[in-house]
Subunit: 240 residues, 2 copies
Amino acid sequence: MSPSGMGVPLVETAPRRRQASVRLLSEPQVSRLSLYRRQLQALPLDSPPTIHSHTLAALCGTSAAHVRRDLMTIGFAGSPVRGYDVEQLIGAIGRQLDAPEGQRAVLVGVGQLGRALLNYFTTRRPHLRLVAAFDIDPEKTGRVIHGCRVWPLAELGEVVREQGITVGVLTVPAEAAQEVADRMVEAGIAGFLNFAPVPLRLPARTFVEEMDITTSMERAAYFARALVGGGRRKDEQRAG
Amino acid sequence: MSPSGMGVPLVETAPRRRQASVRLLSEPQVSRLSLYRRQLQALPLDSPPTIHSHTLAALCGTSAAHVRRDLMTIGFAGSPVRGYDVEQLIGAIGRQLDAPEGQRAVLVGVGQLGRALLNYFTTRRPHLRLVAAFDIDPEKTGRVIHGCRVWPLAELGEVVREQGITVGVLTVPAEAAQEVADRMVEAGIAGFLNFAPVPLRLPARTFVEEMDITTSMERAAYFARALVGGGRRKDEQRAG
DNA sequence: ATTCAGTTGTGAACGGGATCACAGCGTTAC
DNA sequence: GTAACGCTGTGATCCCGTTCACAACTGAAT
């Protein structure tokens, strides 16, 4: 589906996700920390001010050892009996994950999925906000969708540069994805959420989170089959 | 927030993704194979009938070694000079990933995101089809959205059981996710795509693909920052 | 004061996916 | 016919996230 057709160079390709030169946190760690924080923030008001690794693990579907290891990595200590201070932990995670000055994101491709995501994000946390949307269709531009103004695609570079935006959500058709992504990189976007069903080929010092729904669906289907069908063929054994 | 509030049991938790007792393919392998197939099917009509590992790797953003290893795993051989036969490879991948009789999926939660996903999938491949949607809101039920009928949530069990559906997409609010998921499991669904921002706690012999958009966004933001900001602090070195 | 239950912090071991490197071989060119 | 190129198939290796296991410690109970 690449626009360049079959003219794919024969050079050996690099793995699709580049890492930071100095990587404080691993990818899964960032995911888990993000989840820890969200679960902690959603705790009822009358819950105790501290929480055990057990409990947090249960809330997040991980193991206690995992939680302890992650908190150790970010240098957050707890009390052997009381556990971890919830408020302070939320702060510590924020200090790791969030830019002190906050970060802004744009969304490109205001189709149905794009609109759904705008809805998802515009009312979200202040440290990471979707501040603009873009589309090539003149019918869609100018409007404000869920509190987010839709600009013509042509102005992407200007808006992104002016506001120092670093994160981008791609919800354009597959054919347009690579080209649009290139323009976003050029404008200064370094972190991508790619919902287009095409792997992006981007320069190093760029991070792409592939949100390939079709592939995810096929994974779910495959393992659904492997789990229920496969279990009948072979002696059942607890996962572990 | 888990409906059970703080009453989380103190038992040690298991890792959140259970594996098949006999696992033919690993999770990343299934993802890649799914992608290989899609890219192969999207090849222009005038492309050669065979393809090299190099080329396929470039199309999919992986390495040639990776491609060869994956195809070796599914027992598909190529010619040392011509490469892999495209048609046959597509067939071989299908034989691994697809159920011979096809698989059906349902979607629960016909909000904006749910509708966008319905749009995405109803016109898709025959081997994995979204055949029904469910919602608790009487206003939404009865209608047909993108060729997919919306049923009352109460009839979920019946429909899923009758049609032997094994895959489910969850696009309900966080508060409802766990409860709905439990009902889906009970009805026979074993593979989940969970878009609700809550980790699901499901029995073994069940597979959950967490599609946590918020977390993914925070990941993208974190690494965007680590890549462009972190590189200035430390000596730049190629990712490797 | 002292004991004890239960939790944290962390070195060490484990496991598995990614990558390397090269032998083997089919195809083409001459 | 023969040589040589370049791709495939795969054992071996590497690397890193996960898990284990236990010492150290804290606070409560007595």
